[in-house]
Amino acid sequence: MRIFASGLRKLIRRPASLVSVGLLVGLLGLILIAAATVGQNGAGRGAQNARALITFPGAYDLILSFMFGLGGLVAVIYGAAVAGSEWSWGTLKTAVARGESRTRYMLATFGAIMVMVAVGLAITLALGIGLAVVAAGIAGISTSGISDADTLQRLPAMAARGWFAVVEQAGLGFAIATLARSQRAGIGAGIAFDFGEGFASIFFPDIIKYMPFAVARASIDTGTQGGFGGGGNGAVSQALEPDTALLLVAIWLVGSLIVTVLFTERAEITG
């Protein structure tokens, strides 16, 4: 518990935490304001689509899709940054030299990441809703749908699934950076895997649908209008049922952590 609490304190003060949330909220804000501007000044099909994006309860779909789509990529980078820096900065070395268990240290650190992801997503959701309300105001759209009972009822479950999917992607980044023993290499490899998987899905969709990023996207795709799913891999993500995908997300997450722990336990720390 001491290490977990310490890990949390470290992550709260870490600039990357603020940058990650800032990036998500900033980009989401730009999209919402852009939609408001387009929706405000026209009556064509484009303007109608833009207005639909910022009209509640549909705006929830946009916010969640964005959070879990781009949020997944940000999580890969964040997980890789945290694990990689333990090697790059030599702080894992210091902890091990103090007699700390390598497994406990890495798992506690990842536990702190899981909490930070939840907090980051909650902040993004709250600010995203606020920005959508502002955007709706700019476009002169009513926000009465914000309290849509059906949407609000399924929001917690979707948020939980989304959080789990994002955590899985953070776990992948965490494992990759541990194997690479480097912050930069981990981040680079994490991003490459994410994009590589999307690209490969064009050629091998039946295989890629079981891959970690694809199952993460599929697990939050409920087939609603906006889909709540993120990214541009809808064709791939629809290949798996969300519940099946969720199970695979759990398997990938556990697998990533096992790889992380085994590698860290066996590693010779020379840096």
Binding site: R13, W89, A95, A97, R98, I269
Partner: protein, 335 residues
Amino acid sequence: MASPGTLALATRGLRKSYGSRLALDGLDLSVPSGVVYGFLGPNGAGKTTTMRLLTGLLHPDAGSIELLGRPFTRADRRRLFEVGALVESPSFYPYLSGRANLDALAADGAPVPKGRIEELLDLVGLRERARDKVSGYSLGMKQRLGIAGALLSDPKLLLLDEPANGLDPAGIVAMRETLRHLAASGKTVFGSSHLLAEVQVLADVVGIIARGKLVREGPLESLLTDQGVVRVRVTRADADRARSLLEPIAPVNVTATAGATPADGSGEQWLTVHVEPTRAAEVNRALAAAGIYASGLESGTDLELLFLELTGGEASSEGRMQGIGDAAGPTAAQG
């Protein structure tokens, strides 16, 4: 010494390779309790590898380690709860303050007594800068914070890899006093260093390692007494004749190494005569009587001389090479 006769640290047949390169080749260390132990060796001799093995960062290929009288294996990481370590450069989260870094470190491993962090910030003189981010610290400040980190759990055994790195003269003096105080209170300090003069001032016991093997170990005073030498610098043309003249007095080594060859390329050579330092005049007289005039002569029980002798002249610093060229030993006399 706290417990005379007991060992705070012992290794037996410690062996470690990195691929095909053998870093440690059966290292046998015996570090008595309650002493400051100076662990010396040229670059690449295996000092840091030893430190990493002692702190569980590396796994030995063969051999055993005992910490504070009990075996230390991978499965028994809690042995390190009684050990404080600073291995290689100090490692911190750059975006956290000095105090926050110590807080983070205190969450790992052995429990840290309340108020210990403030006490240590005072000890290493960082209280004023404790709120500043470590990224803004100088190398010396990071080093002092690293020493504070090593002392967090009030360890019985302290392992310090080049602890004087980056410290200014005042910092070195303060560190020396701290380490002496720790040893006086019964703790054991095992420190590697390139600063031989510093080790000579500080250490009670010295171990010298070369090419992964321990070449000498023992109380510093007796090692220096046993290893007294007289060194004379003569021209290369005279070297062979000088050697045959001096052989009847004592065994002579010709040390034509980088560390013993004058930097000016004057074609001279150092001869090391294994006699008590008090016999320097006798050596000089023997050469002069044969018409050989030494351009440099030094004698004494300098740790640097001992180090160079035992490590085959693998000098650890350029400064030392220049110093020898000037024949400026503690009892040096120009011939």
